[in-house]
Symmetry: C2
Subunit: 291 residues, 2 copies
């Protein structure tokens, strides 16, 4: 039996992939009434079978009584929203997104809706699509919002409460700082990991190439995980965070050159020192609660 809550608790989720589907599962468990929108009818059917929302359709009209709408779409779709989507958003609802770049999203969305909150839950797996959503994806993960001078404080508080109810650690910062930091710890890794795969793909000595495939172990698997991920996502994040990513690539090049120089001149003690610092700092980036 469906639990009928008042309108203020109706949440619309546009897109039921990894992020949208996971939000749908967790938010239903918290007692919210969820309206999920998918792009295609066959996806809607599968999302229904998986129970990703109570009401699922590819018709945006189902969102009309929602007080919160989450744009759980690919970044490119958030940045270039269909006019049909914009028209379907209730004027008084709080709208939020999950895109990994915030400056360009704010650029587009602050003009489109008065109660838009730019946000970014830092959770992911290498799964995508309607089969990917799972319970507790956000638990103990960071959910960052990037309010501006134009942001409505009550709307920000609504998204804050939503993130907390999912067990997230909530932080706010400005969009440019977010995009710089995410460029370093999320976007750059995709490209440097991608460069490793690209380099191996270029190996034209068949014997080496076959042996490399046979010998590749967990180290290679881990280092290339994000570089072998969704190409559409890879391009859209690079496109929308271009200048920060180029700057990060330059800085990264300096570190590569420094390491190379130590190897060329056989400064083994200095390489050792560098690796000791790496070993020491890495855990700072892994702790969940860093307060």
């Amino acid at each position: 039996m469906k639990k009928q809550l008042n309108n203020s608790n109706n949440i619309g989720i546009i897109g039921l992939g990894l992020i949208g589907g996971s939000l749908g599962l967790d938010l239903q468990a918290l007692g919210y009434e969820i309206y999920g929108v998918t792009h295609r009818a066959d996806t809607a059917k599968r999302a229904e079978e998986r129970g990703l929302a109570q009401t699922i359709s590819n018709d945006l009209q189902i969102l009309k009584n929602c007080s919160i709408i989450i744009l759980a779409l690919p970044l490119s779709n958030i940045l270039q929203p269909d006019s049909g989507l914009i028209d379907a958003l209730p004027p008084n609802a709080v709208i939020t997104d999950v895109g990994s770049v915030k400056g360009p999203v704010i650029e587009v969305w602050e003009k489109l809706h008065p109660y838009f909150i730019a946000s970014h839950p830092m959770a992911g797996t290498n799964q995508a699509g309607v089969e990917a959503g799972r319970r507790n994806l956000f638990k103990e993960k960071t959910w960052v919002a990037t309010p501006t001078a134009k942001t409505n404080p009550k709307s920000l508080e609504v998204v804050h409460q939503l993130a907390c109810s999912l067990g997230c650690k909530w932080i706010t910062t400005n969009a440019d700082l977010h995009d710089q930091a995410v460029g370093l710890i999320s976007h750059l890794p995709v490209l440097i990991s991608g460069a490793l795969l690209h380099m191996i793909a270029q190996e034209n000595d068949q014997e080496i190439s076959t042996l490399a495939k046979n010998l590749a172990s967990t180290g290679f698997a881990d280092t290339t995980r994000v570089g072998g991920g969704n190409p559409v996502l890879g391009v859209s994040m690079t496109k929308s965070n271009r200048s920060h990513i180029l700057h990060a690539l330059d800085k990264y090049h300096e570190s590569i050159e420094l390491i190379k120089e130590k190897i060329i001149s056989e400064k083994w003690e200095e390489l050792h020192e560098l690796l000791i610092v790496n070993e020491r700092i890495r855990p700072d980036f892994l702790k969940v609660d860093k307060t």
Copy 2:
């Protein structure tokens, strides 16, 4: 009650860290009598508590009745063995190692023992030390040996059987090809992953640095895992595979430059194509059975 087997089944393991300890656990389960040697007395005590071998000591004399000896030592110790260790090896035993570089190991060991087999089980976790060993570490992993013209075929067969009994996929190749391939899929990842950590460590904008720590998620964790690993191992593998690693770093630099160029000139379709190839080839490096 200990199962007493004949001498031909006595196996000595020098070093009871991740690899040696895991070998000890699995080989005991297969019915072998294991003699484990640790460097320090306190490690011997802990290894005994964990049951990593039936007989454990920091005295190399316990190896005198072993017919197989596995050098499960850090690469630097394999390359510069103590004279005490060399003297303690039974002249008729088969000796094998687990080092990640094979050319330099052969250079040293082929002169030291007539029945030396250079080998490299491709298994690892980010654990190290006497607490790290665990059952089934080698199951379905590749174990590669690099025989030379001087290699005794019967000794090679002994190591082959040992690897098979642990559930490994066995391959043989020559040392130089091994070192080239391992340079690409194992050593290079350590350095490019290390360069990412080094770059982040250099960030002197405190606000960005703190935010990066707060926002870092699974992508960063995976991409930096091997770069934040054991510094001693990092240096010794780089030192012993220097020329192949430098060549690999040059090739890697070309891939980074290519990607950067596509971003600078906004060739998004071409970046997309490159990422599609990456996504397609990565699974070839993850399959266990690639025959």
